[in-house]
Symmetry: C2
C-alpha cells in the first residue's frame, strides 16, 4: 500500500516537549484528508529488576490524567545522546539506582494514530544505589513491586499505562 | 502527594481528533511549571479472536509514523456512545466482523506524560462476517495472526504499537 502524499503542512505550535502540525495529505485514492500530528522525540522506557527480583516502578502525579500513576521509569532521549546512555541517566534520575547491565528488549509507538513518539524498551539489572544523582525525589516516589503482584495490579488497572503494561509483559514473557 | 494547582490555561488548538492546551501549574512545592496537554477522547481497543483461535489485526498506513503498522482494531468512543457499542462498531468498520461476545479485560493511558487519552481494552469472540458495514477496506488490510506467531512478531518489533502489545499480552496471559 502506498503512503500519503503531503500537499501542505502547517506548524501550529512548537513547545518544550511536543510540537503540533497539521498536514493536508492525499490518500492513495486521491482524496484529500487532514492529519493532526503531535511531534515527540524518541523515548526510552526501562523495566528495572533489583537483586531480589522486584520490579522498581515510579509513582508520580500526571497532570494530563489528573491523578498519580504507577509507571516504569521512562523519559526522552536527549539530542545526540546514545539510547543506552539515556536509559542509565533516567534510571539515576528517577530511581537513584545505576544499572550495571541494560538490555534492549523491544520497542513501540505510544499513539501511532497521531503521535511520532517511539519508545525503546530495556531491562536494567545489577542495580547499584546512586542516591546523589536522584533528580526529583520530592515528586517521584519509588515503589518496589514483587513479580507475583504484577498480574493483579494490571488487571485491576492500578497499573494503567500502556508502556508499563507492554514493558512488564515483555519482561514476564522472557522469564516464562 | 498533592496534585498541581492550575494557575492559567491557554487553548492553542481545537481540532478534529485532538486539542492542545498549555497549562501553567504550581507544583506541590510552589514552583511554577508548564504542562503541554494533548486532549484526546476515550478510545477502545479490541483483541478479536476468530473461531480458529487466530487474532485479527489491521494493517494500515499511519502518517505520524511514515509507515504501515500492524495493530489491533481501535478507535474513538463517540459522544454519548456506550463503550461496548463502540467496540462493536469499530469491529464492523475495521474488520467486517460482528462479535457476538465482547468482554472488557483492562484499560490504560496511551501517553500519560502529555495526553489525556484512555483506552478501554476488550476481547471479541464469536465473530460473524458482516462485510457490508466495512468502512474503508481500501486503506485497511485485515490480517489473521496465529497465536504461536505473536511472540516473534512482538520481539522483532513487527508489531510495534503499545496498545497492541499491551492488548495481546493481556489476552495471552488470560490463556496461560
Amino acid at each position: 500500500m502506498a503512503g500519503e502524499k503531503v500537499v501542505s503542512s502547517k506548524t501550529i505550535y512548537k513547545g518544550r516537549i511536543i510540537n503540533l502540525r497539521v498536514d493536508t495529505v492525499e490518500e492513495p485514492d486521491g482524496k484529500p484528508a487532514t492529519r493532526e500530528i503531535v511531534e515527540h522525540g524518541d523515548c526510552i522506557a526501562v523495566v528495572p529488576i533489583d537483586r531480589e527480583g522486584n520490579i522498581l516502578m515510579v509513582k508520580q502525579y500526571r497532570h494530563a490524567t489528573g491523578r498519580e500513576l504507577l509507571e516504569i521509569p521512562a523519559g526522552g532521549v536527549e539530542p545526540g545522546e546514545d539510547i543506552e546512555m539515556a536509559v542509565r541517566r533516567e534510571m539515576s534520575e528517577e530511581t537513584g539506582f545505576s544499572p550495571a547491565t541494560v538490555q534492549r528488549i523491544g520497542g513501540f509507538y505510544s499513539s501511532p494514530g497521531f503521535c511520532t513518539e517511539y519508545l525503546h524498551l530495556f531491562i536494567a539489572t545489577d542495580l547499584e544505589p546512586n542516591r546523589l544523582e536522584a533528580e526529583d525525589t520530592a515528586s517521584i516516589e519509588l515503589i518496589k513491586i514483587k513479580p507475583e503482584a504484577l498480574e493483579d495490579l494490571i488487571s485491576s488497572e492500578t497499573i494503567c499505562d500502556a508502556k508499563s503494561i507492554a514493558g512488564i509483559c515483555t519482561y514476564l514473557r522472557m522469564q516464562a
